[in-house]
Symmetry: C2
Subunit: 107 residues, 2 copies
């Protein structure tokens, strides 16, 4: 049948749907924090394969899914590649200072 629009269900919460607790929960994991730091450091999209994390692909997918559902990162599909970016605007608007405070941390 109509074949296309193949991929992108890719659900993201609207800005109003993002909760502090969800964001905190998402950030409260070393792997996910590392992902967020990398996204924040480059300030541009990074494909899954471009992220440096000490877990397997399936676990990485899991973490990205959590970050996406929490509203921390956005995903954009292009071919077989999924580009991830930080939803800095939304987070700064909702919780001003939170992200910067986290990223300002010593490590």
């Amino acid at each position: 049948m109509a074949k296309t629009a193949a991929l992108p269900p890719l659900v993201h919460p609207a800005r109003e749907e993002i909760t502090v607790e969800g964001v905190l929960r998402a950030l409260a994991d070393p792997v996910r924090l590392a992902i967020v730091r990398q996204l924040a450091a480059t300030d541009q999209e990074i494909a899954c394969g471009g992220l440096t994390v000490p877990v397997t692909k399936s676990t990485l997918t899991h973490h990205l899914s959590i970050l996406r559902q929490a509203g921390v990162v956005a995903g954009r599909q292009e071919g077989t590649t999924r580009f991830n970016s930080l939803r800095r605007n939304d987070l700064d608007a909702l919780f001003p200072g939170l992200l910067d405070g986290v990223l300002a941390a010593p490590r």
Copy 2:
């Protein structure tokens, strides 16, 4: 024998010992977030019994212990009463904006 100094084992991490991840983990729970919000709202010490949370005393003790170990709250013993306060200075110094961002959240 030497009778006193009865109280304060009560370990708190030094400011340098506080980690972002620990703080995020501590805040990533509805009950603990409620505790922090109450402490921030009154901006003064609150005894365990003065906190309004939907859990039993033993669970409350557990949550306060986690918050204390993470460096989010400080505990001061006085008689049988334990007074808890937010370590706002330390948190603001380490992660400027983090706490305010969390507290600024809609709910």
